[in-house]
């Protein structure tokens, strides 16, 4: 056997490399295939309610009750949304909800950032115990304080006003304090110390040095709080009685009694009520990642 034919029959290094890479690609695609097969059904199930909601919102009345069921309306009735908006008095609800949510964000940013600063940066007696106390309020079921709070607000004449929904947050919120404190802890103390040596007061350090550093975290807290306030149901349920004061969540519930005839309007109203949180979420994703990246670069 000549050496030449042996060499010719053995695959070249390049050929081996190409075959190996193609083999890898096949294996990767097969693996992805398996993963998709397992993940896709669940994802489709999770998507179905949304799709059904949007489709149903555009149907006309008789299509809803038709048997066999009609899934996709032949003509999508966009006017259902306008009718739902007017029926539901959503302009008022949107105004109220926006006002309350914005006020809550301002309140939380102010009260919680200061508190988080104290916990993260200042060494004072009782710090740990106090922080544990803050955390414990996160686990407290709301029912234990619900009734006395209602009584207090009642005596103050604040029932059927926005006050009970807005004012308490000017006194802090455990989760936001926790979040901001964690974020503050990641910022090097040298910045503080340099400023203090230059004669800056503790408050000065906070406002002039740290606040700019934690803008990402402040945005995260703002978004969380805004969404939470926007979606809040229990507060408005207990304290608001007049329809002109209703928030979106409360307003939505006024129409639940008429399920027999107006399902398409109910679905349209639900879509309308979910728009803002969903939009916020799609923007929040990027801020979130930015915040994580920022703290990562710093760390």
């Amino acid at each position: 056997m000549s050496t030449q034919s042996v060499v010719e029959s053995a695959p070249s290094a390049l050929q081996t490399a190409v075959v190996a890479r193609k083999g890898n690609l096949w294996r990767r695609m097969l693996r992805q295939g398996w993963l998709f097969a397992l993940v896709l059904p669940g994802a489709l199930l999770f998507l179905t309610p949304w799709v059904w909601m949007i489709l149903t919102a555009g149907k006309e009345s008789k299509l809803i009750w038709q048997i066999p069921p009609v899934w996709i309306p032949p003509v999508y009735r966009w006017q259902n949304f306008i009718e739902a908006w007017n029926k539901g008095n959503f302009s008022t609800f949107y105004t109220n909800t926006t006002l309350i949510s914005l006020l809550n964000v301002v309140a939380v940013l102010f009260s919680c950032s200061l508190a988080a600063y104290a916990f993260a940066r200042i060494n004072f007696p009782g710090r740990t115990a106090l922080f544990v106390l803050v955390l414990s309020t996160m686990m407290l079921p709301a029912q234990v304080t619900l009734i006395p709070l209602f009584m207090i607000f009642s005596k103050l004449g604040w029932v059927n006003t926005f006050n009970p929904l807005v004012l308490p947050l000017f006194f802090g919120d455990a989760f936001s304090i926790f979040l901001l404190r964690q974020f503050l802890l990641t910022i090097p103390r040298e910045l503080d110390e340099a400023a203090l040596l230059d004669g800056c007061s503790r408050f000065g350090v906070f406002f002039r040095i740290l606040v700019p550093q934690i803008t990402a975290a402040l945005i995260v807290v703002a978004i969380y709080q805004f969404t939470y306030s926007w979606n809040d149901f229990f507060g408005p349920l207990i304290y608001l009685n007049s329809p002109e004061l209703f928030t979106i969540t409360l307003g939505l519930t006024r129409f639940m009694g008429r399920t027999q005839t107006d399902i398409q309007y109910l679905m349209a109203m639900t879509v309308i009520s979910t728009l803002v949180p969903i939009l916020i979420f799609f923007f929040m994703q990027r801020t979130f990642l930015q915040g994580i990246v920022i703290s990562g670069i710093k760390g």
Binding site: A118, F124, V144, T249, M269
Partner: protein
């Protein structure tokens, strides 16, 4: 100005005094809120539980009568049963599902962002919107589920209008909200250092072994925390039964908080409702502590010595 107060108060520890004052000034809003909105009301509601009160005219001391009446009331035990069934069905189900999906998503699947969004999006909207949507999904005549079943000739049950199916309906619905848990577990999974897996593989562990002996122990603190929070939340479920079934049919979905709400704001018996609130609080604390105690067996914290 604050610096001068500090200097006036103390000698060499003026910085410390100044710090103390600054700190408590920063915390003043929270402290006031804590006393006025947490401690005060808690004590007040404890006291109130020994009274019969409707806030306006009726206000008299009844001692332990509220508690006695509570434990003898059949609806109370019914609400306890409903809450327990819901919590101990929805939480394990949700946790198992969230863990499975998180594990799958952690396998470097393509389009991770898309999957994450799909699973997480339902948690972004209000509980009211979810309830309203699923109320229609479960609609016996025009809803998604029964329409779908009818394609196969199956006559679906009356779901929320059927006392056997009402609570299971709510449990099914709760699964739609596992997105937040999925993200939490995913973050936990991603924080497990790969060298651990590599070491295990070198020692001959297959995928299942790696899962059981590396993934689960490393993830156990996250699981513990998440399950605790989920349980506490599940014990307090209220919006769904209130909006979708009003606690029916036949009190099949009467959760404890709904029961409390009815007593307080429908029957206007604030003393009784306060007693109820404290009983609920005690139950939640007991289970949390129990769970925490049991966790010593299976939660693994890094830095602990091996047993």
């Amino acid at each position: 100005m604050i610096a001068s107060w500090g200097k006036r108060l103390g000698g060499s520890s003026s910085q410390k005094r100044q710090d103390l004052i600054t700190a408590y000034l920063c915390l003043l809003p929270w402290l006031i809120g804590f006393l006025a909105f947490v401690v005060g009301p808690m004590l007040f509601s404890l006291g109130l539980s020994f009274y019969e009160s409707d806030l306006l005219t009726t206000n008299y001391f009844v001692g332990l009568d509220n508690y006695q009446e509570l434990f003898q009331e059949e609806l109370f035990w019914q609400s306890l049963k409903v809450t327990f069934i819901y919590a101990f069905a929805a939480v394990p189900l949700g946790t198992a599902l969230a863990l499975s999906i998180a594990t799958l998503l952690n396998q470097k699947i393509a389009g991770l962002g898309v999957w994450r969004t799909i699973y997480y999006l339902p948690t972004v909207i209000s509980g009211v919107a979810v309830s309203l949507l699923w109320l229609q999904i479960f609609n016996p005549r025009a809803g998604l589920i029964n329409n779908f079943l009818s394609l196969f000739g199956i006559q679906g049950p009356a779901w929320l209008y059927d006392s056997t199916w009402a609570l299971p309906s709510l449990i099914i619905m709760s699964v739609w909200g596992v997105g937040a848990n999925i993200l939490l577990y995913l973050a936990g999974l991603q924080s497990i250092p790969t060298p651990l897996y590599e070491a295990a593989t070198i020692d001959g562990a297959n995928a299942w072994h790696r899962f059981r002996h590396v993934t689960i122990p490393m993830l156990s603190p996250t699981i513990f925390f998440n399950v605790t929070i989920s349980l506490i939340g599940a014990f307090q479920f209220f919006t769904q039964p209130l909006l979708m079934t009003k606690g029916g049919p036949n009190n099949a979905t009467l959760s404890m908080v709904l029961f409390l709400y009815n007593k307080a704001f429908k029957q206007i018996r604030f003393g009784y409702a306060s007693a109820l609130a404290w009983v609920l609080f005690a139950i939640i604390i007991s289970f949390t502590l129990l769970f925490q105690y049991s966790s010593k067996r299976w939660v693994y914290y890094e830095g602990e010595s091996d047993k």
